[in-house]
């Protein structure tokens, strides 16, 4: 520590929050004025784990390294992983989701679509042909509604009619590209009509 320097060091810019996908590298940059004989240290705020001081990496995390381009710009590199927000694109869990389904006319079915990812993906249902989805409650007193998209893991189709036959798309998205979708075909069988 140099006492000879008249100036005290100052941060010239705040440290920017980062958001990176799993597996990507992250670099934090610390910009300082008049560093003089002082040293830049990096501490992980939640665990207070010392990462590095000056040019020395203290942590035994092999993915952490430091560099500096000049006396004003000091970098902390984290290889292969994010830090604040580790985001994971959505992935549909096929074994927990519905496959093509056959239902008798007038029956009630549930189409299920589960996905993993971070942040937690939300599920949107659409009909592939662009037709509206008919939402009815089990209770006949509640009027039905028609929607182009429906949000939720489970799409309950009450008293299905032959017009609801077709391919339904479940789309899992969480803001991290790419969004993924699954096609589920609903076949409605009915008595022969003359």
């Amino acid at each position: 520590v140099s006492v000879a320097d008249a100036y005290q060091p100052e941060f010239s810019e705040p440290i920017v929050n980062l958001s990176v996908a799993v597996g990507r590298d992250a670099t934090f940059r610390c910009l300082v004025h008049h560093l003089g004989g002082y040293r830049v240290g990096w501490v992980k705020a939640d665990t207070k784990a010392i990462q590095a001081i000056h040019e020395h990496v203290i942590t035994h995390n092999p993915r952490v390294s430091v560099s500096h381009t000049d006396h004003s710009t000091w970098n902390l590199h984290i290889r292969g992983m994010g830090y604040l927000d580790v985001v994971v694109p959505p992935d549909i869990l096929n074994e927990e989701s519905s496959s093509d389904i056959m239902a008798p006319e007038g029956g009630t079915i549930k189409l299920v679509c589960k996905a993993k990812g971070y942040p937690r993906p939300h599920i949107t249902w659409k009909r592939e042909d662009g037709q509206e989805i008919i939402i009815k409650e089990g209770n006949t007193m509640v009027p039905k509604s028609k929607v182009i998209t429906y949000q939720g893991d489970t799409l309950k189709l009450v008293k299905v009619s032959r017009s609801e036959m077709g391919t339904y798309l479940c789309i899992a998205s969480n803001g991290v590209p790419p969004s993924v979708s699954k096609r589920i075909t609903l076949n409605v069988h009915f008595h022969p009509v003359i």
Binding site: V43, K48, A49, I50, I53, I58, T59, H60
Partner: protein, 113 residues
């Protein structure tokens, strides 16, 4: 057989020092190997010492290393009331291991009966 790094459980977790005198916070580590022992002040997450290097510019702080028993003692000269609080002895394991020591700073008083 790889031996694990750990803190000597007999190390005091509560230390009382007198105002104006030196305070000593001990941190005894077993099987330190190539890891570093650091001292951090919790009040402001201020790094005080890393190994035998003093990081803070407050020159009252230093780390004393006794090789026998791998003991890293934080020495605070001229302890002040504001120095009271929690200090962390941190090992650079992955993830880190921490030993917390609470420092009390008291003013000695005497009464004539």
């Amino acid at each position: 057989l790889k031996s694990d790094t750990y803190f000597d459980p007999a190390t005091p977790r509560n230390v009382t020092a007198l105002v104006g005198k030196s305070a000593y916070l001990s941190c005894k580590v077993r099987n330190l190997a190539n890891k570093t022992v650091s001292w951090i002040r919790h009040r402001d997450i201020h790094i005080l010492t890393v190994g035998s290097y003093t990081y803070t510019s407050d020159q009252r702080f230093s780390a004393i290393h006794r090789r026998e028993g791998d003991e890293w003692t934080l020495h605070i000269k001229w302890a002040q009331k504001r120095d009271a609080g929690v200090y962390e002895c941190q090992l650079s394991t992955q993830p880190v291991r921490s030993f917390f020591v609470n420092l009390n700073v008291v003013v000695p008083t005497a009464e004539i009966l």
